[in-house]
Symmetry: C2
Subunit: 291 residues, 2 copies
């Protein structure tokens, strides 16, 4: 299967990311359908022509209409939906997702899946502080990373289809990681950063502080405005890997603490020089992405 103008795409979960997928695909001329538990999200998506069809109570026929299914729901919801509804899915349909962790469900899903269907994981590294379809935008994928997480059960065909989808959505950089590598790296790049922002934002009384803050504090705490339902689930589904990343950060922070305590200026400067060098790796990528 390749994606073409006849490919019918179902997006399950019309929140910020699902809505942004739907917008991007509809803008490119694809037939995008929606499925959500919230009638308001469906109504909003239909009124704003983000989807061509949508429902909160899908018939077997509706489910069987689509060639490509994209889960944009919390990770815990995927396995249950597939168990209940895979019998209605079109023959040879491909299923993918957008969730922030993979190991907790991907192997189970692939185990129980009908032989003609294929599930391949993907993670768009894009988001916003605000949730909901009304905040969705096809722009959020520009300059961003898209990570495909195939297992040994996935076909070359599905990997290519997933890459095509990433290109269509407008991502700048598409890469592959195993689900295990993905969860480890995301535990660092995404989950640890949220732990830090939340800890910083709650470590003392903040009254009056906004009068004295600069951009550094605002930048470090942008993501401290956090969807607690989603992120607490993501943290706990990736608990061991996240704790491991938190330990690494704690060690690094403690080392700097000790150098400051000892007044070891050279030691502090060495760490800062390494930090500056490391940060340049991200500048370059970001720069290239945006060109």
């Amino acid at each position: 299967m390749k994606i073409d103008k006849n490919t019918k795409i179902l997006i399950i979960g019309l929140g910020l990311i699902g809505g942004s997928y739907a917008k991007a695909l509809t803008e490119k001329g694809f037939f995008a359908g929606g499925l959500d538990t919230d009638q308001k999200a469906i109504d909003y998506a239909l009124e704003n022509k983000i989807i061509s069809v949508g429902t909160v109570s899908p018939t077997p026929e509706y489910i069987g209409l689509f060639d490509l299914i994209i889960f944009a729901v919390y990770p815990d919801a995927i396995l249950g939906w597939i168990c209940q509804n895979q019998r209605y899915l079109k023959k040879n349909a491909v299923i993918t997702d957008v969730t922030g962790i993979k190991c907790s469900f991907i192997h189970k899903v692939q185990e129980i899946l009908r032989a003609d269907l294929e599930f391949i994981g993907a993670h768009p590294m894009a988001g916003r502080e605000s949730s909901g379809i009304e905040n969705s935008s096809s722009e959020i994928f520009k300059g961003a990373n898209y990570v495909i997480t195939p297992t040994e059960k996935n076909t070359q065909n599905a990997k290519e289809l997933c890459r095509e989808l990433g290109v269509l959505l407008g991502f700048s950089n598409i890469s592959e990681l195993s689900p295990e590598q993905h969860d480890e790296i995301i535990g660092f790049l995404s989950q640890l950063t949220h732990c830090i922002a939340v800890s910083l934002m709650t470590c003392r009384d903040m009254n009056g502080m906004s009068e004295y803050s600069g951009d550094s504090f605002r930048d470090l705490t942008r993501i401290a405005k956090i969807n607690d339902t989603m992120w607490s689930e993501l943290f706990l589904l990736n608990r061991d890997k996240l704790l491991c990343q938190m330990d690494m950060f704690k060690n690094s922070f403690d080392k700097l603490y000790d150098l400051i305590l000892k007044g070891d200026r050279d030691g502090i400067r060495d760490i800062m020089k390494k930090s500056t060098l490391n940060r340049e790796l991200f500048d370059k990528t970001k720069g290239n992405d945006l060109v």
Copy 2:
């Protein structure tokens, strides 16, 4: 003394912030002079009409020309310069600064200062990841906070002059803190954030990571590109207060770590809800500032 078009202003140190002050003041029609140890910075500032006059080897007459002196140098340099040169300063001149910590020098400076001179501290909460006059811009003060740090030795007149200067430079919000309060709050809002960014950026091997990163990681580490000479000095001059802020953050981070370890989802969500509420305080201020 009030600032008017006859006020001659000397900026000592033409780096990013000194250069940005000079640009902003020259654009407003003031006579701004420069002083730096680097001839290149003086040449650049003169060629680009950022200053009207400038030198690396000031004569007593040059120093005596100015009504308002602004130190935009590392904190360690201020006391020595004043000891050596205050005898040349114009009668009743007012001196201020831009440095990120105050207690380590401000009381000493005020003690040794000539009776007719006045030193009043100020901290522009603005900056960039890049240093040097070539990166300076009068735009960096827009929407930003400006904190005046008077002591009991400062006059109402000097406080008002400092406020006027903040308004002229384009700051959105001007407030007052004692040097002690300032250093405690800046230890939190500015120094701790830099400690966190540097620790995050150096806690593991970063090779290949940029392919998978999202905006959250980029935002949290923007300031990990750091001027190690300046920041190591700032950290050590504010050591006790900074360590105290680092302890507070560590406690908060450890608390979240324990909740994740225990799998206490409600506990994690409670902290995230508090975090979201606290972050809104900063959104509002930022929003109002920019209007």
